[in-house]
Amino acid sequence: MVDPVPPPDWFAPLLEESAEDLYERATCGYLSVLPDGTVARVNQTFLDWIGRRREDLVGRPVQALFTVGSRIFHETHLRPLLHMQGEVREVAMEFRRADGGRLHTLVNAVLRRNPGSGSTVLRLTVFDATDRRAYERELLDERRRAELVAARLRVLQEMVARCAAIERAEEIVAPIVVAATAAFEATATMVWLLDPEEAVLTVAGGADGSAVVPAAPIALDGPEWEARAVRTGEVVVSDRSRPDRRVVTPLVADDRVLGAVSVDLPEARALATDEVNLMRTLGQQAGQALERVRLYEETTRRAWQSAFLARLGRDLDEPVGSADRARRLVELLVPDLAEYAQVDLAATDPDGRSDPPTGPDDGVIASGTPRPWLLGDDVRDAVRDAGRSGRALPLAAPDGRRGVVLPLLARTVVIGTLLLVEAPDPTGRAEPDFLLDLADRAGLALDNARLAEQDREVARTLQRSLLAGERPTDSRFHVVTVYRPAGETLEVGGDWYDAFTTSSGSIGVVVGDVVGRGLRAASAMGQLRSAVRALGKAGCSPAAVLRHMDDFVATLEAGQMTTLAYAELSLDTGVLRYACAGHPPPLLLPPGTEPRYLWEGRSGPLGTRAASRTRQQAELTLARGSRLLLYTDGLVERRGERIDQGLGRLVDVLGKRRDAPLAALAEEVSDAMLEGEGGHDDTCLLALAFDGAPRFRRDVPAGMAELAPLRAALDEWLTGCQVPESERYGIVLATSEAVANAIEHGCGGDPAGRVSVTATLDGDVLDLRVSDTGRWLPPRASLHRGRGMALMGRLMDDLVVDRGGGTNVLMRRRVGRRAT
């Protein structure tokens, strides 16, 4: 068969073997197969491999030697290939061994054709591939395992990446479910979170197929696998004897167990070690992510809370009154912290101490909407209890809404309560400690406003009482005053005016300005005003008044830097003496000429060391009909304007109204000077008319019985003004009608109502004003009233009825006067 090659001499002994022996003992197996598939020849090597005898094979079909797979392969691949190509190399074939095992081989097959007969023989050369096959399988397994590990690592990495992106604790559930499903083909995954205070596990979420499964909480000491996992901090799996579908891993972060993840496998089986490790790693990674997001949530919540408190502090400082602050408070709380917020302020007794609120109906001064809380007795009780106990109190309304009542504390006193209802709170912002802190700050802000309100009220009362002093009356002069408090602030200022007669029969007028605002300024103003009045009444000259005031101010805590203008007018001679202590100059309006400032008699403010210690005064004689204006700097000062521009403006404004009646002049000058100005300072204006209009004034209760005495008094005044009797009757009649009207319709029979009558006689023009304080009631008897109005209209030259904040009836008539 094989042509022998002439061997070299040195290995000739080894070649002393027959070709037959080479065939039979070859390192590979030989099989010759006839076209009908029967084995024709086989060598010993192959027989040894498969553990069979020669006679068992020869003459038998070769297919019987193949395993099932190889037989199919032989039929479907090998034979067609041989038919086409004549040979096939290195195909893997399996033979069945006699002991039932398999022989893995690589086979070369060659179809040999006898050219003479045309018959064919299939010659198979078989190489033992057992070792190679095992190695290949090992490689394959190794690769599969590596792929599985890599896939699971990818799953873990993806889960960690997704966990890193979450911002809220409950968002941890979805990545865990995805990871468990991908790594274990889990049919159900549940995430349980530990509530350490309650020692229970509650479902944070999960997936069972597509649905989220609600599940009851699990007690930490329970037999459930989830509880065991949390207790031990270890993965809980079934043992090999009793396989289970469920696997539970604890959620661990830095040795703390936060919860557990339970995974249901598609079938009950024991987990391999690397799978257990994977579960453990999953629990650790998810646990750390959960811990991080909890820290993040906590940080976010704290940042939000402190920003909210800062804003609260800022915003509550803006409104001045406590009611306004309470209103601002509930506006701030809704909707960020509550759907509805309500502030109940305790009633305050006159001592300024507050009682705990007795119920929500007493002094509910602010509330937020949208849905008002229907208050029941339980709420009432809770409000009361919260007020007493000084702690947060949860509430549940009958309609299911939940609320909390917080005490508004200020200086350890409960000044009211704050009710918050149904806070939409996904991030736990409204935790009790924070709300208590918030209520404390709000309480302090409200209380500060309340104290400031009390101060303001006292100051305002003081100021009113001081400014409403008795005015001297004399037909030879006429004083009107205008006081305009600053519009921007509710605090009273220290401006004042005063007019009084002196011991020498002169009239003293003063306008002053105490530095500062509030109670201190108001009370200092009161002392200074009294002092000036006392000094002036005693007959001190203006310079002497200022000298004494310097001494007086030195004894006061406040009042330094006070400015004032004091003037004293002798009604007999018209001599005016005046002095200004750091105050804007008086403005004189002589009859028939232009206004001019009195720039002499000037020295520094009271109580200053830097200013001249020598008090100056100046003197001039006023013509009859002259007018003199004293004022505080608020009248002439305007933001962005120099003081001399303001003084120039005052001259212009006054020049245009020089002939107006004194009262109108004072009002109009104030209006014009302050127009467009926000009112940043108090303004005080005193106008003195020398030889001004004789004046009549009565203020009577709203009773018809007052009519007769009033007529008598008016008649007497008219007589004093040399008004002829014939005219007096008509004037008195018209006035009486107007007063009766005011009593009947203006005050509507209110006995507390008052009617004032003012009459001025300026030259030959009589001005009459009848004012009431009430609301106008439509008259019932129109004919009767029409008659009254008709009488008034016929008796007077002009008749104006002005309704609005009480009724004013203004009447004017020219009268003939006897020459004096």
């Binding site: 007529r711 009486s736 009766a740 008897a781 009254g788 009488l791």
Partner: protein
């Protein structure tokens, strides 16, 4: 008060009501009631305002009603208000029924009994 302001006397077959003092919003209703209760007869009535020192729109209304009441009773009425007096001034101002006015009580009675 009413008695002080209202005095009634029969003279030459007429009832003469003399009013005194101020008649105003404070007492006009009272005066009206006083006169109506004092005079029942449906004879001629003279309302003498010579003693009235002040009369306002309420006083005028009072006069209106008194005149209306007596006319309804078929009792002819005259109102006495002296020329140049305060009351006459008011009545003239408002244009009070000039036909009913007389300057003296005598004149009024003569007018009524003519």
């Amino acid at each position: 008060m009413t008695r002080d302001r209202v005095a009634v006397a029969g003279e030459r077959g007429c009832e003469v009501v003399r009013l005194y003092g101020d008649i105003d919003h404070a007492n006009a209703d009272e005066v009206e009631r006083g006169v109506l209760t004092a005079i029942r007869a449906a004879t001629g009535v003279v309302i003498d305002l010579s003693g009235v020192t002040f009369l306002d729109s309420a006083g005028l209304r009072c006069l209106d009603r008194l005149v209306t009441a007596f006319v309804n009773r078929q009792a002819p009425v005259r109102v006495v208000a002296p020329e140049g007096g305060a009351v006459r001034f008011t009545l003239d101002l408002i244009g009070f029924l000039p036909d009913l006015l007389a300057s003296t009580v005598d004149e009024a009675i003569t007018d009524l009994t003519a």
